[in-house]
Structures are given as C-alpha cells and as structure tokens.
Amino acid sequence: MISGAGGSEVPRGWSGPRLSAWFSTGLRHIECIPMIQRRFACLKRCGWAVSCWLGAVVLGGVGLGGAETAEDIAYFEKHIRPLFAEHCYQCHSTEAESLKGGLLLDSREGWEKGGESGEAVVPGEPEESLLLRAVTYGDPDLQMPPKYQLPEDAVAKLKRWIAIGAPDPREGAAAIAELRYDPEAARAFWAFIPPGSTEVPAVQDRAWARDPLDQYILSALEARSLRPVGDADRVKLLRRVTFDLTGLPPSPEEIARFAGDPRNDDEALAAVAGRLLASEQFGERWGRHWLDVVRFAESMGRTRNIPFPFAWRYRDYVIDAFNQDKPFDRFLVEQVAGDLLAASSPLERREALVATGLLALGSLDLNEGNREQFLMDRVDEQIDTVTRSFTALTVSCARCHDHKFDPVPTEDYYAMAGIFRSTELLGGYRSRRGGNGRDYFDPSLLVSLPGGETAPEGATEMLQDLDERRKEIEQQLQRTRTRQQRLNRMIQASSREVERPARAASAAGRPARVGSAQRAANPRAELRDLRQKQRELQIEAEDLRTRQAALLGDVAMGVREAGKMENCRVNIRGEVNNRGEEIPRGFLTLIGPSGAPEISKGTSGRLELAQWLASPQHPLTARVMVNRIWQHLFGSGLVQTVDNFGETGSRPTHPELLDHLALRFIEERWSVKAMVRAMVLSRTYRLDSAHDPAAYAADPGNVLRWRMAPRRLEAEAIRDALLMAGGELDLRRPEGSPVNRMGEREINRIGGPVEEASDRPVRSVYLPILRDHLPHMLEIFDFAHPSQVTGQRDVTTVSTQALYFMNNPFVVERARAVAAATAGLRDSAGARVSGIYLRVLGREPGEEDLGQALDFLRNGEKSGGDPWAPFVQALFASAEFRYLQ
C-alpha cells in the first residue's frame, strides 16, 4: 500500500536511484512510514505545481544548501537518514509523541531552523554545530541521545556529513506549531472585556430584595421557577455575621441584645454590621484572608528555612489597612510600589514602605548558588504572586513558553520580568551555596523605616552599649585598614629588596612589633592575621547592626529600585543560560487596559505597573476582589476559581452581578467595608441554610444561591472560638512576633517557639507562621499553604481533626475554662447547660438537647468524675461548633 501510494505520486524529475534509496532506507525504519505517507498526501493536496517545483530544484542541482552532488545526497541517504530515524526521530520528528526541545530532524528545514537551543547544524562547520556537540557528550548540559551515547562511527559519520555541507534532500516545512494568539479572540474572552453596566433585572417578587444584588440573584432563580428559602432566624444570623466579619463568635449578651432588638431585621442587622465593621477584629479577620492570597509567612521554607524576623510588620500593615478601609486601589499600589509613592508624612511613608513586603515574602531556594537562577526564580515568584493575587491570572505559565490557554505570550512575561529585575529585593537574606544558617541572613538588605519609634522598654541601655561597641569596632577597623595599607606598601617594597625590613629591625636590636610598629618581622603573616581579624570585626559589626535594628524594630522587608535598570532577555524554555531576545519593560499586551503608561527611563516601571493594575479600566482587578469578598461571605465565589479567571478557570455563575459589583466597588472608591456592608445587608446573605427538595433537585450545588450553604469555619476561627468560650481570649494585639526573637538561625527543629506561642491566648492571626512548621492546630484544619497564592482554602474532613478535639490538651484546657466560667450558674443544671450552649454554640439548647445533656451529666457523675468539662468538650467536638449555618 505504501509503495502503491508512492508509486502513483512520484513527482516528475525524481531520479530513479535516489528514489529507491529513499524508500529502502525509509522503509527500514518504522518511524518513517507515516512521514512518507504524509509527504505524499501533502503533494497530493498541493498538486503538480509544487511537485514540479520541487523536482526542478533538485534536478537543477541547485539544492537548498548549495551544490549538493548526487554523491553527497547518497551519503545522507545511506548513513544519516537511518541514523536520525533510529536514534532521533522518537523525540525529534513531526511524529514524535512529544517533540523535545522544539527540534525537528525529519526535514531539512527542521535542523536549519533549529530548536529552542538554536540552529542545530551549521553546514560545513562540525565544531560549530550543536548537534555534534550533543552527540559527542562533551557538554554535560547537552547530551543526546539522552539515554546512551552514539557509537563512535555514528558520530564520525555525522561529523563527516556536516563537514561536506550537510546535504539533505528532505523538503517540507518543519511543523513547529507556534502558539500565537489572535488579539481579537483574546479580547473577546469574558474576563478580558471590561465590566459593563447592566440594568438591574426586574423581578416578580419585588418585596424580597433589599439590595440590587438581590435582584440579580432572584431573577436567576425565578427564571428557573425557584424560590429562595426563608431567612435565617436572628440567632443563626448573628452567629453568621459575627464570625464572617470578625472571625469570632457573638457573646451571650450580644445574642440577647440582637434577639430582643425591637427594630425590624433590616435596621437591627445594619446596627450589628456597623458595630462589627468598626471593631478592630474586622481587620484581623479580613486581613488574614488577604494574607492567604499573598502567601504570607514568617520564614523562608524550602532548602534554607530561615526566619523572617520583620515579616510581622507587613501582617500588621494588612490588618490596619482593612481596619482603616484603605481604598483597595491604593492598597494595591502601596504593595507593589509603595516605596515609589510620595508621602505626606513619615507615618504614611512608613506604611507604604512596609507594604512592599508583599514582594519580599516569597519562598525561595536560598541554596541556589547560581545567582542568575536565583534572581529569575525570585522574579518569577513576584510575577506569580502579583498577577494571581490582583488579577487572578497565571502569568507565570509564560516563563517557559507562551501561555497554553490564556493570551500571555512569553515576551509579555519577560517584559514584566524586566520590571522586577530592575527592583532590588530587601528581604534581609541572600542566597548562596553552603554555609550554616546564619550565613543566609543579611541585615543590610532590609528597608530601614523613617520616623522612628521610640525604643521598647529596657532597650535604651542595650542600644547604648551596642552603639559604643559599634564605634569601637569602627575604630579598630580603621586601624586595621591603615596598618594593612602600610603592610602592603612594605610588601611591595620588600619584593624589590626582600630582606631589608627584617634586617633593619634586628640591627636596631629590638624585635619587630605588630600593631603600630613601623616595621614588621613578617608582613605577609601579619597581613593574613589582620585580614582574619578584619573579617571577625566585620561580622561582629554586622551582628550588631541586626541586633540594633531588631531592638529598634525599625526595619522591614520590602523592595527598592535596583541600582541598574535593565530589560530582561527571554529565557528560552525558562532556562536562565539560554537567552533570547531582549524585551523592553512593560505589561501584558493582550489583557488589560490599553494605553498603558509609558515606563520612563531610569525607573523600573513598578509604579506604572501598579497604576496599570489599579486602573478602573482594568478588566480584572475590581472583579477579582469583589469575587474574593463574595466568596468569604457566601462560601464560594461567583467565579469559583477565585485565583484563576483565565480560560481554565470557571466562568461566572452570575456574570452581570459580578460586573455590577465590580463597577459599584470602583464607584464607591474601592471601599472594601462598603462592599462587605452591602453584601451582608442583602437579603441573599440572610437566607437560611435549610434544605428545599425542589431547589436541591434543580440545583444541588446551590450555584443559584437559593439558600446559604453551611460552611466550615477556618482554623483560626475555631481556635479563637475555643478561647473565647471560656472568656480567655486576649483581644489585644501582641507586640511584633515570636519569630522576631528567634535569632539568626535556621529552623530545623519542630516545636520550640511555635508550639509555645500556639498556646498563648492571642488571636490566631498573630501566631507565628513558619513555613513547614505551622502550628499543629492550624495545619490540621486546612490553613492556607503559606508558599502559594491561596484564595480558597481546602475544606477537608479527616480523623486527625477528630483526634484533635478528642485528645488535644489545648481543647481539654479550654473545656475546663468554660466549665469554670459557668460554675456560678449552679441553681439548676439546666441553666448551666444553657449558659454553656450560648458560649459554645451561640444558641439556647432545645428540649432534646437539654435531655441528652442532663443524661450525659448524670451518668458522668455516677462514674465519679466532674462531667462538666467533658460535656463542654463534646460540644466543641460537635460539627455544629465548627460549622456556620
């Protein structure tokens, strides 16, 4: 069949012997068969014109590479084609299951064009040809075939083939499918079209809605002939809104007040929302949501897990920003380019500097000895965090190749990379290979903050001591430098006249002295000693600087403009040593507002990037943030994949509502609190979690929001509620972080400060967040992975959580505290049970609950112990405690 197909389509002008050689070699190798078929299919399609042209070219002896004789071609057919087929086609042909390195060897054009590493063959120049370099295995980074080395004679043949000019009769386009985007199509994707205003949809039940957003929800339900379930009762609602806005349960007094509030639901709820939004706890709750997104942590993780003693400043900045209701566009600009903003006061300046901590908190491989690799990995981490957190785009995918799904050409990635390359990282650490933990700290690489705080108590004296010591060291260093210069001069002199200084010294009858002496017995040895001493002094000086800074606390992690502004060259396949074209600094070209600000010379472009991201015209920024807010209040986003609005992400369930909210967010000066308030006061938010068979049958996933689906509380809320129930939680913000006091060492022991700190009765947002050593409790309840952008936490239900409630001493202690706090309610067991229910579950016990409780308590007493703490623990352990309804 194959020969038949070939026979009927042999183009005119192909000479007999060549053709037969072509077939005999081709057919020996199974890989060739499909290629042959395709070639002829192609000829068939293209018709005679092409075939004639091909024939003419070959016949005329012009060849594509110059003068190729029949003999040369025969050499190729006899030796090279079979060799390629046997050893290379598996990965380097159009038939390869997956093409490696973008290199095709089944056509002349393939090797002429070369792969991602460049031109594979330079005809006539074996030494210049990558192909030969690869097969000779001389270069450890380029060895082909990867699994074995070619026999020597095969290598010799390749060499000869290249030397005679690489004759190759195989025509046909190398079919590297380059992924390029159609700008029209790119701009037509829903998420890349700027939000448009729509008319608030009409609804049948006009009395139901409280906020325009309700109308969007209700109209979609009505379109499916569904009705929302009824409202949650006030007790449930209060628990829901208090946890949602502050991460804490309502107190029994607050429950009583709200339940008894004579005003209507709208007014009573508005009053509660106002109180909660104004409380300091709001920022602690919502700040933590943002910290998840920006992979906040207080240590490096990975290969060299060193603590970040000043990361807490960024944490507190975020909490404060939410409490101040800092406009989100401003919040964004500060985090990306706060150091480049003009400030009206030192305080404002401090805040903006601390904000850039966002860019310095990533988890990097400090052991990376290759500086360029470390730099590009750091840049990648920054691009990934910035683009995913603010615009829910996975731009980092374009580091190695054009983004496979979204219109992000690799050039765009490197345009952005240039911005971060021109930005200096001030994280207080540096990369290197080897050394012990403290070698990775570099306190000179931190942002020092203006405006200064007063030194903490007891620090003044220590600071003075340190200061004196620092001055001494400086003087000593000065002395060593002077002496060094002198010694160097002596060595130079003595190299001209070797013995003189020593002889002069002995002639004078006194031993050569070290130090201030004019002469030295052995200047080289002394110089060595001096250098050693100098190193020691420098290290001590560095230590002092850190200790001073730590005492003052006047440093933060962040960034600044690099000394040199430079564009980035494309790293082909993401390999740092494989550089392509230089790309001017810039932003995404196919996504985002057009008319992006020009990056002025001499600046990194970070400020322009921040402004471009924060632009009201940006199609993603506002949508992404309102979607995050929605998710935290309604359990899941209108776009479920909150960190991915691209092609592989989900589509919005209510696209018009999303746009409505995004535009409203921008109009209301990007106020997070206003958006939260609007959502919380909506009717949709008030829905009960009750079941409705008809609605469930039509929409089991509650995509249309016919009810409020129950939600598991986050780890922090569970822990805070445990402490709150017994009145133990200290709501004051602790000073700094325990990580600040860990010192310069690598974290490799589990426990220690983390475990100690975890038991302190502070809010969980203030627990130390060390990568790879999370507080046990937070970890088992699905805390956000602190190395990755996490807009949506997992919710797992596993037995380690059950074991925690059953056996962990922290839980047992909290149960005792509740038992003790309610011990006064002894009039009747029922009153105490009620008191405990209110504290733990935020509601009164029902009749059945009470009966069960009293049974348990009676039996417990019978078996001899105090049953109250175990009873409280049982309530803690119940699903109701950790679920919001």
Binding site: G138, P140, Y148, G301, R302, T303, S363, D365, D377, R388, T394, C397, K404, F405, Q640, T641, D643, T648, G649, R651, A690, H691, P700, G701, V703, P710, E746, N748, R749, I750, D772, H773, E779, Q788, V795, T796, T797, V798, S799, T800, A802, L803, M806, N807, N808, V812, E848, D849, Q852, F856, S863, P870, F871, A874, L875, A877, S878, A879, E880, Y883
Partner: protein
Amino acid sequence: MRCLSRRDALYTASCGFGYLALAGLSTQNGLAATPGPNPLASRPSHFPARAKRVIFLFMQGGPSHHETFDYKPELIRLDGQQAAGSYPGARSKEKLLGPRFGFAPRGESGLMISELFPHVAEHADDLCLLNGMHTDNPAHPQATIMLHTGSVNFVRPSMGAWITYGLGTLSENLPGFVTINPATNVGGAQNYGSAFLPATYQGSRVGLGRDALRDIRNSEMARRDQRRQLDLVQSLNRSLLERVEGNPELEGVIESYELAFRMQFAAPEVMDISREPDSVRRRYGLDRKATEGFGTQCLMARRLAEAGVRFVQVTHRGWDQHNNLTNKLAENCAQTDQPIAGLLSDLKERGLLEDTLVLWGGEFGRSPDGQGPDGRRHNNRGYSMWMAGGGVRGGMSYGATDPLGGVAVEDKMHTHDLHATILHLLGIDHTKLTYRYAGRDFRLTDVYGEVARRVLG
C-alpha cells in the same frame, strides 16, 4: 456556563446522602470511582498492580555507590591516578579513589555487592540494582526535594502524597502515608507534604515509641467514658444532619470520629514493637546498640505496611562522606545492613515482599575521584539505588555508569523515570495521575518520566 468546582462536584455526585464524593476526586486522578466512607478509601489502580505498598528506605546525604552497589574494577585499577580526563566531569586536580571495600558475587545471580552489606547481600537474588541513576542537582536540599517531589523549582506534592491520592490507604484504621523520623532540614515537611493536593494526603510524621502520633492518646478519660462522650458528640452531629439536609460534609464528620476512635487503639498498637518476639527483634538487630535505632524504624515500617499503610518512609541520616569515608561508611552500613536484611526476610516470610516495593537509596551518589585521601564529592550524574519485591525482577542490575562510576551512560534512570517506574509498579499510569490546580493538570512526573520496563518482573 456551569463549571463545577471540586466542592460542587462533591455535592452533586453524592446522592443526597453519600459522602465526600470520591467521584469528584477520581475523575481527576483518572481512577475509577469507588464511593466509600472517606477520601482515603482504597481505590483500584489504572491497570493490575504488581505492588500494593511501598517502603522507602531513604539514606540521606548521598551514599557512595563505589563502596556499596556499583562494582568498578577499573576504578580499583586506577586508584591514585590523576582523575583529569578519566571520565566526564572529573576534577583536574583530584586523584581517583579506588573503592575502600571489596565486592564479591552474591546469590545465584552473582550480583556484585560490597562486603559492607553482608546481610543485604544474602537477598541478592531479590535485588534489582539501579546503577544508572542520575538527577539534576548536586546539592543536598535540592536533590532531596527533587527525589521526594519531582521538582525543585516549585513546591509540589510528595511522592507518598501522590500515591495515597491515587490509591487511598489499605487500612480502615490508619492513615495512608507515614514517614518515620524524617529529616527536618533539607526541605523538611516539603518532602512529605501534600502541597496543593488535599491535606488528607500528606504524610503523617511519626516519631519513635508509643506516642509517636499526635493526639492519639487521651490521658484524661477511660475508654468507656470517652466512648460515652463520643456518643454524645455523634448524637449531636446526627441531629444537626437531620436539621440541615443535603450536607455530605457533615456525614464526613461523623465518619471521621469513628475512624479516629478506632485509630486510637489501632495506631499505638501498630507502633508498639515491645511485644514482638525476641526472634523478630533479633532479626532487625534490636538486640545490638549499633542496629537498634534503625532496626526499630524498619520493624515499625513493616508493621505499618502490614497493617495497610500505603507508603511508609524510613530515614537514615549521615551518608555525606566528604571525609572519613572508610570509617563512617562502614559505620552507616553496620547500622543499616542487618535491619534492612531483617526487613526483607521478614516481609518475605509473611508473603508481603511480593507486593511490597522496597526502595533503597539517597538523593545522589559520590564522585570516583577523591576529596582528600578519604572522602568523595557529591555526584548527581551517576549513582545507584535498588528496589526489591513489589514485582521487580530480582538478581539483576539495570543501567550502568561509565567504567569509573562517574556518569550514568546506559539505561540511565532520572528521578522522573524512577517515579514513573514506581507508579507503574503500583498499577498507575504516571501520565494519568493528575490533579488540577491553578488552571492546569499537574503530575508527579511533570512532563517527563519513562517507565523502566526491564526492571518489571
């Protein structure tokens, strides 16, 4: 327009009363759905598995293959010669260092094994030496993380987490992935982490002794009292479930308590080696100081594997012989030889070796040229590991380094290939075990990995 999240899939797939929908997970990992009580429930593999479980004996630091499992007469011959030009990557200034210990043919297969492993050598006919190993990075942390997660540049789930995600656990009372006494540096928890996979799949770190698992004991209450307390909890849970229908997660809570309750008794019992008979204890070397530590870990590994844990890792540290190679290596081998041999023979006697894959090795090997008179540098370009049991061919050597043991040249096996092969032995197609995260499907082997078919028995 509808694009379901995993969570939605869970709701939708569970028919009102189901549970954490495995359908949701299994559509992702390409394995058939088996509705079961929890995400750790045992699931069928892509194709019939040769191995059901894995015990990974991780020798941290980069054990020298020249003195253990890669016999090179040429290196003996050239001992003390200038290394320059002798093999690709040789350091010009160093001298070649002949193996410090001798080799002899062992078993019927005549596999060459060093005198440092006399007991392991008795199992020569069960060993499949992987002599053509290579990996990307010559630094400890990177290579260790690479070995465990298949990636250095990014935080990725560990091999044990992927396997547990793919297959679940075999026990109703135990977690699916346990790592005993892991190294806390060189990547720490990342080496047994689940990264973006659900947290259920991360390795449970256990120490040694009875209280090796967190929160496994209740020191406050008698078992009967705790059961009574748990009955109250479960009754509260059930009444909540009645009030809020259509919430499979709540059913999950109820199940999790029952498993936890059982685990409290099953896990310490499995971990408690004190009641093992003396004959068994001796077999693992628990009667001698040198072997007691590692022997305990090996014995615990066998008990965990036998009880149904899918992936057990045991770690022995200190294989980084830049100097003092002769003494330190002999010491390491003396500490591990008897326990490993004991583990292999114990597994065999219990009929477990045939479907338990035992994997031995470090993050890389060492250089043929010396570092000083009695040390070797790191070498990621050629080293050895071995497999036994679990459907691999015994008594063979797969792959080879150059005549001096410097660089893998034949049947080279990269870390990705190792992972692909391990998954294959477990009945998993490594290209199909995927998880969708941040908009794309991830694999343990990324876009690489080739199964070494010749090692399959």
